[in-house]
Symmetry: C2
Subunit: 132 residues, 2 copies
């Protein structure tokens, strides 16, 4: 998946704002910089068709929301960009780690271990919840 510059900015805006119609996005993002409402509308539409936004009519306009969170999108992007280079059975995160780790210091390693631990705890917590 490829995202254009404007598409990225619109996404970022919707992560902050949760919900907005084309008019609002236009006001905030492109008005002073000189873009029409129409441009925003097609961008929102393109993002919608890419399944990155949801929309719903309220009053006389569509209100858009991000369908994927930032982290989820990052994950998607990583998958799509690395997919062609990763062989069957290989995992993209593992590959990503192998790729990036060369540029990391010990502190980052520790950070990562902490994240793993936290994720593990979250898992077991969810299991507990599910059995009650």
């Amino acid at each position: 998946m490829i995202l254009g510059e404007l598409e990225k900015r619109v996404l970022q805006y919707l992560w902050e704002t949760l919900e907005a119609d084309a008019k609002q996005v236009h006001e905030t993002l492109t008005k002073r910089q000189g873009g029409t409402l129409n441009t925003i509308q097609s961008t929102l539409d393109r993002l919608f068709k890419k399944d990155l936004l949801t929309r719903q009519k309220q009053g006389h306009a569509y209100y858009y929301r991000a369908k994927v969170g930032r982290e989820e999108l990052i994950a998607q992007l990583i998958q799509s960009v690395t997919g062609d280079f990763i062989s069957e059975g290989e995992d993209s995160l593992i590959a990503a780690f192998s790729s990036i780790s060369a540029g990391l210091d010990d502190e980052k390693f520790s950070q990562l271990e902490t994240l793993i631990q936290r994720q593990r705890q979250r898992r077991s917590q969810e299991d507990t919840d599910a059995n009650e």
Copy 2:
């Protein structure tokens, strides 16, 4: 950075073969599928201009080699695709982990921890080497 389909295949080929000229790449990749030598030449040239290949004349043809390894390229691609969504001070691997971890099982976590350990050892080994 964006890579086209053919560019990706050429890269993969050069990772296997180490060195090849346009003719060889053409023989292997596109001949039966119907593409001309010229197409391969411009693709190689594009990759060269993207600084992903090196080249050197031997006899009457350029011989190309991959300038970046697979893992390094994956790292670059991840950086470039996630860059716009990652704020100052945030690290792309950490972000990537946060993104992808939801889809991983315990085994993957262990794998990752093992990789971290291995990387740590490699580090200390390099330090030892450097001081001898």
